[in-house]
């Protein structure tokens, strides 16, 4: 090799190493790397049964087991447009570079997944590869589902194929260049999809392992609660530290005491996941409300406990933009406490106070109590503005939670004003939302 060639080869090597290092740095650790224990193949793990269905469904049919797992993976919420047939797709995800529509996953042969073989389905769910070879966008959380066992993925398929076929073609995506180049997702996938199945950790309890499988492979909590890196993949260095998804803030669910779940009691976490409400912590709304209604509320109690055990082990990562705790109850009289925003107070007095009270402790239902919720303690007021815009309707056991959507009758200025008033009065620090911020939030909500 000539001297020139040698220099060139070294440069190429350096470039390759630099790119590899860059990718390694951006990619960061995997979702379970924090645990650090000894991993064994699932087949060799004897202490418990992390994958599959809970004990009461062990003997159930494949379709029934698939139904449990499909609910645990929360397929329906994203693959159903409100008002349309379940699993028939068409829900629009509004991204900064266009709208992405979910697909029809009913067994219709033309518009759904009726032609998918088992291998096709595994490729789609675990590898983000469509039947026709095209690449899926990671709005489909296949980098989480990749941890599911083949058996569980195929049980989900059996369930989906047991449903009535619905003929429904979702609208075409409206992504702009270069995001409309599906093939490019091949490289994204090569870097960010581990394409590996769940491996139990023998240093942890069977309960933890079950919780890890449910949380990471099925419930895909990190997809909303973990911040994203430069490549739009999950940044597990800040695992569960909270992020903004679809115009809603998914709060910190790491074990941080001040801004995460570190100070929640087990029964609060269990109650929040299975009912969507925990006394003193507020109620799940927006995407988390949907996750509770369609997914967590259907979990077996022992599976909820496993998730709680697992969440407890996630290292604390503080959210620096949140106050170190939530504000106490506000004064009972409208005259006391913060009343800075006159327009916000005016809107609050007319439309909000009947349910939420001047103190923030609801006179009608603990589920409507604002005191103690992160939403009103978030100085960015994202979820406050969102719930005012789009309301909430939760399927609780006694059907007790619903708030109307005020977005169509109140201006962006009024919604910003009421959010600023609410966060100032009931939270630690008032927000400074503008009409423009509210207009942007309207744009981001999935529909």
């Amino acid at each position: 090799m000539s001297g020139k060639m040698r220099i060139l080869a070294s440069l190429v090597m350096i470039a390759i190493v630099a790119v590899a290092l860059g990718i390694w740095i951006i990619r960061g650790p995997g979702p379970l790397d924090f645990a650090g224990g000894t991993k064994v193949a699932l087949a060799d793990y004897r202490a418990g049964k992390p994958a599959g269905v809970p004990a009461k469904l062990e003997k159930a049919s494949l379709v029934e087991r698939g139904e449990y797992l499909a609910k645990a993976a929360d397929c329906m919420v994203c693959h159903t447009k409100p008002g349309e047939k379940e699993y028939s797709g068409g829900l629009g995800f509004k991204l900064p570079f266009g709208t992405l529509y979910s697909t029809n996953i009913t067994p219709d042969k033309d518009t759904g997944i009726g032609n998918y073989s088992d291998q096709d389905f595994l490729d789609a769910v675990q590898r983000g590869k469509r039947h026709d070879g095209a690449r899926l966008y990671p709005a489909m959380p296949y980098t989480s589902y990749t941890y599911m066992t083949d058996e569980d993925v195929l049980a989900v398929k059996a369930y989906l194929f047991s449903l009535p076929a619905v003929r429904a073609k979702p609208p075409e995506n409206t992504l702009s260049f270069p995001f409309n180049q599906r093939w490019a997702m091949m490289f994204w996938s090569a870097v960010f999809n581990p394409d590996t199945r769940f491996t139990p950790d023998t240093s942890k309890s069977p309960e933890w392992n079950r919780g890890a499988y449910l949380t990471e492979a099925l419930a895909h909590c990190g997809e909303c609660h973990t911040p994203r890196n430069l490549g739009f993949a999950l940044d597990n260095r800040k695992k569960f530290a909270g992020a903004i998804t679809a115009g809603w803030r998914a709060f910190n669910i790491s074990s941080d005491k001040a801004t995460g779940l570190g100070n929640w009691r087990d029964e609060d976490l269990i109650s929040y996941l299975s009912l969507g409400h925990a006394p003193g912590h507020g109620s799940a709304s927006g995407p988390m409300g949907e996750a509770v209604d369609h997914s967590f509320s259907q979990f077996a109690p022992e599976d909820i406990s496993s998730i709680v055990a697992y969440l407890r082990s996630v290292p604390p990562v503080p959210s620096p933009d949140l106050p170190a705790g939530t504000a106490p109850v506000a004064p009972a009289s409208h005259k006391d406490g913060v009343t800075a925003d006159a327009r916000g107070k005016k809107v609050f007095a007319g439309a909000c106070v009947s349910c939420h009270g001047w103190s923030g402790a609801s006179p009608v239902s603990p589920m409507a109590t604002l005191t103690g919720t992160w939403a009103v303690n978030d100085p960015a007021a994202i979820n406050v503005a969102q719930i005012v815009l789009s309301g909430t309707r939760r399927h609780t056991p006694d059907d007790a939670l619903s708030m109307p959507a005020f977005g169509n009758a109140y201006t962006d200025d009024e919604i910003a004003a009421v959010a600023n008033y609410v966060t100032a009065r009931f939270g630690t620090k008032g927000s400074k939302l503008t009409a423009k911020d509210v207009a942007e939030l309207r744009e981001q909500t999935a529909e």
Binding site: R343, K346, A349, G350, A351, G391, P404, A405, F406, N408, A409, Y410, T411, D413, E414, A435
Partner: protein
């Protein structure tokens, strides 16, 4: 006559309304006043919020969260003067309803120079017109 404040965002705050009504002989002057007060508020509610939109043949508004009413904290002082008259008594039922919106529209024109030609008042149009 309507006195109103309008800010840069198109937000409207009503300050005072004065209404003079000649209804002939006022059989019950207090009821005449009550009808004008209520009619003004009804008409101004329509001017401020009363939009009905139709999608696929159905009205989209369903309740007070998306079809607003003026509330007591938006209601200004209202002064009604009943003109003493010897004419035969006339109807008074809806007179205030018709008086409110044009009076507010003219107040907006006087304050901002924006000549609105549709109701309910489009806050964005008002804000844009005010900036222009």
């Amino acid at each position: 006559m309507v006195e109103a404040e309008i800010d840069d965002s198109g937000e409207i705050v009503l300050r005072r309304i004065t209404s003079v009504v000649d209804t002939g002989i006022a059989v019950n002057p207090d009821t005449v006043k009550a009808q004008i007060e209520g009619g003004l508020i009804f008409g101004l509610t329509a001017a401020l919020y009363g939009e009905i939109t139709i999608d696929k043949g159905r009205v989209q508004q369903s309740n007070f969260h998306d079809y607003r009413m003026m509330r007591i904290n938006e209601t200004p002082k209202i002064e009604v003067v009943v003109v003493k008259s010897g004419e035969a008594p006339g109807g008074i039922g809806e007179a205030g309803v018709n008086a409110g919106p044009p009076a507010l529209r003219n107040a907006i024109l006087a304050a901002t120079g924006v000549a609105l030609r549709r109701l309910p008042i489009d806050r964005k149009l008002l804000a844009a017109g005010r900036k222009a």
